[in-house]
Amino acid sequence: MIKDITIGQYFPGKSPIHRMDPRVKILLTAAFIVMLFISNSLWGLLVGAAFTLITFLISRIPLKLMFKSLKPIIPIIIFTGILNLFFIKSGEPYFKWKVFQITDEGVSTAVFMAVRIICLIIGSSLLTYTTSPIDLTDAIERLLSPLKKIKVPVHELAMMMTIALRFIPTLIEETDKIMSAQKARGADMETGSIMKRAKALIPILVPLFVSSFRRAEELALAMECRCYHGGEGRTRMKQLHLSAVDGAAVCYMLAFFAGVIALNIIL
């Protein structure tokens, strides 16, 4: 059922990773991505992979979830793997048949890319697994706040994200209900040609849009009644504070980062 979808999966916990300031988490995730892409040796990449694994273990998120987060991108990994495998023509060929050839460089690039993508996905899903969507939005708003000076509507964007997160479960539930209701009136959504199925969506989408507009209108009114007048002069209940955990996390990250650079130079 559609209800089973969980968006912005967040797994509450008390691990050091959970306790980190979300701003630091976002910045370190960015640093982690950079680290993955600058490591140009096998050893450097192994350090990156080790970092990913250790961090995952520290977060105490079940390892099962690590594999689950990889599932949707398996086709991408295979696809880029094949591309690299067959279309890199430089290096010693291992195998050659008509236009196809597999070279040692092809193999190593394919492996490199696969490991990089896997680490990248695991690392960034760890960010969403350990940070509540609210904290994430909040952190993004604060990190981007310097952009306000050049008239980027940072607060408005963050508010939109907050509201979207708030209403996703409500709308999923609503879609489910409308689908059941139209099915009860004999709507057939499972059979027929693509055109027929697309047409069968109308009885679901129209009520959904109508109700979303109604919700938006009511919500806007309720927000106005609660003194909402944009981001100006707004304060926040939850203040973000840097703590020892964040310091430790930065050092931990730096150590690996330095390791990767060192390996790049040595090898």
């Binding site: 209701a181 099915k183 009860a184 009136r185 004999g186 057939d188 109308i202 009885p203 009520p207 109508v210």
Partner: protein, 288 residues
Amino acid sequence: MAVIKTENLTYIYGEGTPFEKRAVDDVSLEIGEGEMIGVIGHTGSGKSTLIQHFNGLLKPSSGSVYIDGEKLWEDKARLRAIRFKVGLVFQYPEYQLFEETCYKDIAFGPKNMGLSDAEIDERIKETAKMVGLSPELLDKSPFELSGGQKRRVAIAGVMAMRPKVLILDEPASGLDPKGREYILGMLKDYHTATKSTVMIVSHSMEDVARYADRILVMNKAKLYCLEETEKVFSRSEELMSMGLSVPQITRVFARLKEMGIEFNKDVYTTPYAVKLLLERLGQKEGLA
């Protein structure tokens, strides 16, 4: 013959996950043709889950459902055909309207049944009359109508399918007293006119008490009882302990009983209470 029959019907949400929940637990019941049934129960008692089984929107985890003698889910191809026999109107059905005109919206169900245009037209006119929609409203967009009218259009959309059983989840919720009265009276008239089975799910005992022949009470996923209305209200204390609210008049008579004045009948509507009280008063005067 029973038009709806369930045997040991059980439904478990999220089976095999940590969120597993038994929403309907071992329910066996029979509902006859032409009955008017009230369905009551606390939120989360399983009543909404139960009714969604009656037209095959949910598949039982175990046990079975028979509609008009035919077992649901035995042949998936028959599911849709059986579904047309049981019309289900969800709570706030006006939020499911989508067509440009009320006419087209009411036609949606009958069209899905594959009826001819002439047949559909006849049915729409008949149901519009039944729910009290004037012909000129049929050409209007449903989004222009008042809340009460929208709801009537939505109900008409299911009635036009001429189901053998019409099930409505909280048909009067959110309406003002006049609107409530109108909808419930309309359903009673529909029941009398078509002689089909009608089931009304409601939190409001007052509404259910006035119209239903029998009442089905769900409590904690189990069938608590399915009995004649009077019999159910004779258990008013049990109903209250389940967190259900009984009509104010029933509570007054319960209080009188505590004070030592007992009536051998249970009271749940005002006219009946008036009648009983007048009888008792007359009796007293007669003795004096």
